[in-house]
């Protein structure tokens, strides 16, 4: 689009700030300095002739000076509409939209004329959303607040009202004096004593009329080559003042001017307090606790302290938002957390961050089973009690032998059978969270959680497990907290029907330094002793080392892995006599040997 040029004469420096426009001026400066971050959109409204366009242009000029790369576009709604109409007529509507897309700061004057232009409103909504999505800033002016613009689309109304709405009030007497002096100075005119005050005392509807009166006075000074005295002001500017609706209307205006001072004092006594009150309103409207700001109001804050205070507060709100967003992203359950009061209270940023830590901890995946293991590759006899029990448990986790407790010396196949069990459960139930760990790792994780103050989240994480397989549980001997945690975890999971399995070098009852209540639970299901150390352990050791899990059995196996790599240990190295191993020929176990009757033949 071909935007209008910014009038470079209008700057913040040439804008006379008084109580009626201080807030608006501050907001405009803020927006110019950091567009797209604080008040977006900034909506400025006032009766005509009070400086909307001046302020809007000053904002644009200031922003251009500070941010050289920023695409600043100033337009009146009227011109904007004409451009759009022309673009549509020429079939260039998309081009028109594209051009808007690169705008970083859109200044739109007199948006009250949107009333009734539905097509334009539709376009504006689209342009608006594109602009804001790209971090652009919008500043609007109007002669009335958004809610009073007739026929404004609800979607636009909510967009207009989404940032900061500020107004410019008619200047009070002192500001009027300052304006008259400033304007006369700009024109290189000297006014006699009392003249500026006399002009300011006349009731004008707006600054434009005030300027008109001054122009008339200056014209007389220039044409007649003399200075106009204070006593002449009334007569000189009489023509410039629209005859008021009788003397009484003037009386009311004077009353208004006087009251304005009192209200201004009530609204906020100082600029610093005003800034705080403004921030309170803004953040309260967004649902944040503002006790910190309210507290500051009571202690006559200095401008510097206010700036720091507000920056700190806004920073905290920003952090709260980030934290809440991160938590909400984790899981559906956590979105409830995001609505907690903590996230609305900037005084509790640390709590919120701690909560994020908890949620992170909770959402961390559980240590996964070594999926490369399976019963097919397991080098334990298929009919051994250990394998049969593990098979049964993997087929119906939690329903058959629960818990399963394997014990036996090093390299007896504990890690392999546990790893296989975990892997098989995981394979048959992909949705289930199967945790596979060992005692030492479990204890180490707990210590880390305590260090980071995330024990709650750590606990919740483990309690998600549908199956918990812990190798080398004997490593928990003489630990207090880890045993206690495992005890509670055991109970919680067991109650919930999760499959539990443990491995240990020693039988449960031989675990000295293990609390009795935990010990008795460990052996409350099926206890299987593994005896003969076998090569199988090496197989599991390889797999576990590859998976980054080391049991006490594993290091040896892992160290040996170069020699054992490949299929070598898995294939029978020696041709054994099949006949000798035939189950039908050779009883492997002799149950109840004592009851066997051995007859002695002659």
């Amino acid at each position: 689009m071909a935007p209008l040029d910014l009038d470079t004469r209008f700057t913040f420096d040439s804008f006379v700030v008084g109580s009626g426009n201080r807030l608006t001026c501050a907001a405009a400066r803020r927006v110019a300095e950091s567009p797209g971050t604080s008040y977006n959109p900034l909506f400025i409204y006032s009766a005509s002739g009070l400086g909307k366009t001046h302020l809007l242009t000053a904002l644009g000029n200031h922003a251009r000076r500070i941010h050289e790369d920023l695409a600043v576009v100033y337009d009146t709604l009227d011109h904007f509409m004409a451009e759009l109409t022309a673009a549509i007529e020429a079939g260039n509507r998309d081009q028109f939209r594209d051009r808007l897309r690169d705008v970083g700061l859109l200044l739109l004057d007199d948006v009250q004329f949107l009333a009734g232009h539905h097509r334009l409103q539709e376009e504006l909504i689209q342009a608006w959303d594109t602009l804001l999505a790209r971090g652009g800033q919008v500043v609007l002016t109007s002669d009335r607040p958004p809610g009073e613009i007739d026929g404004l689309d609800d979607r636009l109304l909510s967009r207009f009202s989404g940032g900061l709405i500020v107004d410019i009030a008619a200047p009070e007497y002192e500001t009027r004096v300052a304006i008259v002096r400033r304007k006369a100075g700009e024109r290189g005119q000297r006014l006699l004593d009392g003249v500026a005050e006399a002009i300011a005392r006349i009731s004008f509807g707006n600054v434009r009329e005030l300027q008109g009166a001054l122009n008339r006075l200056i014209a007389i000074q220039e044409l007649e080559g003399r200075s106009v005295g204070a006593d002449e002001v009334g007569a000189v500017v009489a023509g410039a003042v629209a005859p008021a609706a009788g003397a009484s209307a003037g009386e009311f205006d004077r009353f208004m001017a006087d009251i304005a001072g009192a209200v201004g004092e009530l609204a906020t006594a100082t600029a610093a307090e005003q800034a705080i009150a403004e921030a309170i309103m803004r953040w309260e409207a967004e649902g944040y606790r503002t006790r910190r700001l309210e507290g500051a109001l009571a202690h006559e804050p200095s401008p510097e302290s206010v700036e720091a205070l507000l920056r700190q507060y806004e920073g905290d709100v920003e952090r709260l938002r980030t934290v809440a967003g991160e938590i909400a992203a984790f899981d559906a359950h956590a979105t409830e957390l995001a609505r907690l009061d903590i996230f609305r209270n900037p005084d509790r940023v640390e709590d919120a961050q701690a909560l994020l830590g908890e949620v992170r901890e909770r959402s961390r995946p559980l240590p996964a089973p070594p999926l490369e293991l399976s019963f097919a590759t397991l080098q334990l006899p298929d009919d051994s009690l250990a394998v049969r029990a593990a098979r049964a448990a993997s087929e119906r986790p939690g329903l058959r032998y629960n818990p399963l407790f394997f014990f036996g010396p090093e390299r007896s196949g504990k890690t392999a059978i546990l790893g296989t069990l975990a892997a098989e459960i995981q394979r048959s139930q992909p949705e289930m969270q199967v945790a596979f760990t060992n005692g030492a790792a479990f204890a180490a994780e707990l210590i880390q959680a305590i260090e980071r103050n995330h024990v709650e989240g750590w606990r919740e994480r483990w309690r998600r497990a549908g199956a918990l397989i812990v190798d080398d549980v004997d490593a928990l001997m003489d630990t207090e907290r880890a045993q206690e945690e495992l005890f509670h975890l055991f109970d919680a999971l067991h109650r919930g029907g999760a499959q539990l399995a443990f491995g240990s070098r020693l039988a449960a009852r031989a675990l000295a330094g293990m609390e009795a209540r935990l010990r008795s639970r460990l052996e409350s299901g099926l206890v299987v002793e593994l005896d003969a150390p076998s090569e199988v352990e090496a197989q599991a050791g390889d797999a576990l080392a590859a998976a980054g899990i080391g049991g006490t059995d594993a290091p040896g196996a892992a160290a040996a892995s170069p020699e054992h790599s490949g299929a070598a240990p898995r294939a029978p190295a020696v041709e054994l006599d099949d006949w000798f191993l035939d189950r039908e020929k050779l009883p492997r176990e002799w149950p109840q040997v004592a009851e066997w009757l051995i007859e002695e033949l002659d």
């Binding site: 807030l23 209307a249 009311f252 006087d258 009251i259 209200v263 004092e265 009530l266 309170i280 409207a285």
Partner: protein
Amino acid sequence: MSLVNYSTREITCKIVYYGPGRSGKTTNLQYVHGSVPDERKGAMVSLATETDRTLFFDFLPLDLGSISGFRTRLQLYTVPGQVYYNATRKLVLRGADGVVFVADSQREQADENVESLRNLHENLLEQGFDVRELPLVLQYNKQDLPGVCTAEEMEDALNFRGVPSFSAAAVAGRGVFDTLRGISDLVLKSLSKRFRQEVEAGAAR
């Protein structure tokens, strides 16, 4: 009820014109009503008898527009002056933020002024107002009539609390806005003080 609402940015103040019958309370409101631009005022509600006596009360809402970013409204009420309408007077006084006591400067009305002022205090106390804290101004009306008490005499007779007072001739409009300005100023200052106390109390919590 008065209101300073920082989130909706509104200030609403209720000001009650009190005084003996025929002292000029309604006249004050009528003058204000006549002086205010149309867009600033609501309809004046006046319930009067055939002889122009206020039967119930007058109500004039003034919208002063946005001042320092605050939508400011004044609600002006009058009470019926006659002794036998005390129930109505109490009703109107409820929630008042400030009171203008309109006294009749005619010598023969001196007793009525004192009696009405006493009645005001009585009603305020009964409604739990702290009379020392409630913004109050006096208006010595009808100063344009011949032979009336001077402002000094009125001051001696009525202003034992030393509140701001104004001479007036409400029929001609003299002193009407001075009075309104005086009470508005007091009310706004008192709101400001109360707001600060609330903030401090809030911060201390």
